[in-house]
């Protein structure tokens, strides 16, 4: 049987992969995917806590509610984010972060 720490470790590894991807990758869509990975890693943690902390013999559904909300908000975020990327691509003809440096001071 996998213990709570096993789940948390796997979740943390997935989060670390996402974090590394955000820093390493330059394609902004892939960066976005990595953000989704990190969100999912957080979801895994929440579900684990929900399962391992039962209330009256049932999983803690508050945790699952939170995951439900995260997934929904993430869906909305993806829609808006991708729309922004499309708009960006239209104006700059690129989605490589190296070339998007107009924030430079």
């Amino acid at each position: 049987m996998a213990t709570l720490n096993d789940y948390l470790l796997v979740s943390g590894l997935l989060f670390a992969i996402g974090l590394a991807g955000v820093v390493i990758r330059r394609n902004i869509i892939v960066v976005f995917m990595c953000l989704e990975l990190m969100l999912s890693a957080a979801n895994l943690s929440l579900i684990s806590f929900s399962r391992f902390n039962t209330i009256n013999g049932l999983p803690d559904y508050n945790g699952q509610m939170l995951v439900f909300f995260v997934i929904t908000v993430a869906a909305a975020e993806v829609a808006v984010g991708l729309a922004i990327i499309v708009a960006l691509y239209r104006s700059r003809q690129t989605i490589h972060t190296d070339e998007l440096t107009s924030l430079k001071g």
């Binding site: 955000v22 820093v23 998007l100 924030l103």
Partner: protein, 599 residues
């Protein structure tokens, strides 16, 4: 005591108001003159008071430096001279400087000078005296360079400033040495130290060195050899300023300071090589500048060298441990030298700024009042026996020299002869004979603003030496001791000098004598210009330039700006617009937060 503080602050307050508030208002000269008058009245009222009051200015550890006014017999007497001459010069300047463009600046300079001179005279300790000593140098510089658009005036101001600075460094070192020996900077403290046997206990060499270093300050300010070169050049300034600063008061500050020191630590401390050196420098200055004066053609330069020579007398007296004689001569000299300078001023004014005595002549009939007062001043300077003030004071110095050092007595007598000679020469050439230029033939008597001060000073030049006047004015006057040898010597030199002057110069169109060595001032200036300035000043300037360019400009100013730029660039890098750099920084921050909260 309030009166003393009023006396102290009034000139600077008025000068500040004039310079900052009134600026170009035509009232400025009158306000300044009124202030000078108020100062004079105040110092008359202060005569005879003895008091000290002040406040702490800087406290460093156990050392408490005060700005304090010390009223005593010496300082109140000196204040009367300073403010009296100052008032008359202010009045004279009203007319003399009327057409000057920068008359207001001139009067502010006079006000600053009065303030600083008051500070020197009334100061209670050496630090305060040093501060005002520097301020006097500054105001002297401002007044010499009054016509700064003339190169010669600007150079003269610079020269005066540099020579004074040289002396001031020595002064500062001397004061610090003295402080190291005695542990006190106030005159009172020095006095109690000396009374407690401090002088006897101190090493003669160190004490002598301290006194000589302090004397170095007097060498600069009172224009003794070898720093005398600035004083004749200082005649580039307006003539009334020359009268006040470079004849009557400021140049006397050195003598005053030395006498103050002598009063504090006692004349015995001066005995030995310090006193001898001072006396010889004074004597040599007196002799050499009298020789130089006998060959000058510029009336102001003659008077300037004459001033040098008289200052040499006073210094010599201090060196001979007869400071009272020096102070007394300072007091009489202030009146008659101011008179001579103002007289020269009115001559110059009447002759359309012609200063060469060989372009004058025959002014006796055209300017009778000026001529009469100039004659009175001349009489006082050449010490006509028993009737002029100069006689009484010079006699004291000659007696002191006779008793102290026979060589110096011979020099002093020679100087007395030369003084009679060159003053007769100046008077004869300027006032007698026929006019030798258009300027002189068109001259006429000056207005009352100018001749009233002359008349007042003429009276003082005659009577100020007598006991009843000098006592009233708190002058320091030694007991008169008749000495037949001295009396005979001085009368003989007087007669010989005046006679020689008359015989040689009466009715002459040009100078029958030509002694280039004297005329060219013993080549002091040439030596300084060609040797010291070229090799030392330029080398020094190169070093300064190097420091300025590399250290100040390169490191401090440029370095700071470069530092700011590079720090800015560093932060610009942070703000590089690189998304990944931002996210990395963000991730790093999160990890650090975890580290600090969890571990």
């Amino acid at each position: 005591m309030t009166l003393a503080w009023i006396l102290f602050y009034l000139p600077i307050a008025v000068a500040a108001v004039n310079q900052l508030v009134l600026r170009r208002n035509p009232l400025v000269p009158y306000l300044a003159t009124a202030a000078a008058g108020a100062c004079f009245v105040t110092s008359l009222l202060l005569l005879g008071t003895t008091e000290t009051s002040g406040f702490s200015w800087a406290t460093v550890g156990g050392l408490d430096i005060k700005i304090a006014l010390k009223l005593d017999h010496l300082s109140t007497g000196m204040m009367v001279v300073v403010t009296g001459v100052g008032l008359l010069v202010h009045v004279f300047s009203l007319a003399y400087m009327k057409k000057d463009e920068a008359v207001n600046r001139y009067f502010c300079g006079l006000g600053l000078f009065m303030f600083s001179m008051t500070g020197i005279v009334l100061s209670e300790n050496f630090i305060m005296m040093f501060i005002f000593w520097e301020l006097v140098g500054l105001s002297s510089y401002l007044l010499i360079s009054h016509w700064y658009h003339k190169d010669s005036a600007a150079d003269a101001g610079k020269k005066a400033f540099l020579c004074n600075r040289l002396g001031d460094f020595s002064f500062m070192i001397g004061v610090l040495l003295l402080w190291g020996i005695s542990g006190s900077l106030t005159f009172e403290g020095l006095k109690s130290w000396a009374d407690g046997g401090g002088v006897a206990a101190a090493s003669t060499g160190v004490l002598g060195a301290a006194i000589l270093c302090i004397f170095g300050g007097a060498v600069g300010k009172s224009a003794q050899l070898p720093l005398h070169v600035w004083l004749p050049d200082a005649m580039e300034g307006p003539t009334p300023a020359s009268a006040l600063i470079h004849a009557a008061t400021m140049v006397a500050a050195g003598v005053y300071m030395l006498f103050r020191l002598q009063l504090s630590i006692g004349a015995e401390a001066f005995a030995g090589f310090a006193g001898t050196t001072i006396a010889w420098i004074g004597g040599l200055t007196a002799l050499l500048s009298a020789l130089m004066a006998s060959q000058q053609n510029d009336i102001k330069r003659i008077l300037a060298y004459s001033t040098l020579s008289q200052l040499g007398y006073m210094i010599m007296a201090v060196g001979l441990l007869a400071g009272e004689a020096g102070m007394f001569h300072l007091y009489t000299h202030a009146w008659f030298k101011a008179l001579l300078f103002l007289g020269a001023g009115s001559i110059i004014y009447a002759c359309h700024h012609q200063q060469n005595i060989w372009k004058m002549g025959g002014l006796l009939r055209k300017m009778p009042i000026t001529a009469a007062s100039f004659a009175a001043g001349t009489a006082a300077l050449i010490a006509v026996p028993y009737v002029t003030s100069g006689f009484w004071s010079k006699e004291e110095i000659l007696t002191a020299a006779y008793n102290g050092n026979k060589f110096l007595f011979v020099i002093a007598v020679a100087v007395a002869f030369l003084t009679a000679f060159y003053m007769t020469r100046a008077f004869v050439v300027t006032f007698l004979g026929k006019p030798r230029s258009d300027d002189a033939s068109h001259a006429h008597e000056v207005g009352p603003f100018m001749w009233i001060p002359l008349a007042v000073l003429a009276i003082l030049a005659i009577v100020s030496g007598f006991g009843f006047v000098s006592e009233k004015l708190n002058a320091t006057r030694p007991e008169h001791t008749a000495n037949t040898t001295v009396l005979i010597a001085s009368i003989a030199t007087l007669v010989l000098g005046v006679g020689a002057g008359f015989v040689l110069y009466r009715g002459k169109e040009s100078d029958p004598l030509s002694i280039p060595l004297f005329r060219d001032r013993f080549y002091f200036d040439g030596f300084y210009d060609n040797f010291l300035v070229r090799y030392f000043q330029d080398a020094f300037a190169a070093i300064i330039h190097f420091f300025d360019e590399l250290l100040i400009n390169g490191l401090l100013v440029g370095g700071l700006s470069r530092g700011a730029v590079s720090v800015g660039n560093l932060f610009r890098k942070l703000q590089g617009g690189q998304l990944q750099a931002y996210s990395f920084a963000f991730g790093l921050g999160v990890i650090l937060v975890i580290y600090f909260t969890v571990f």
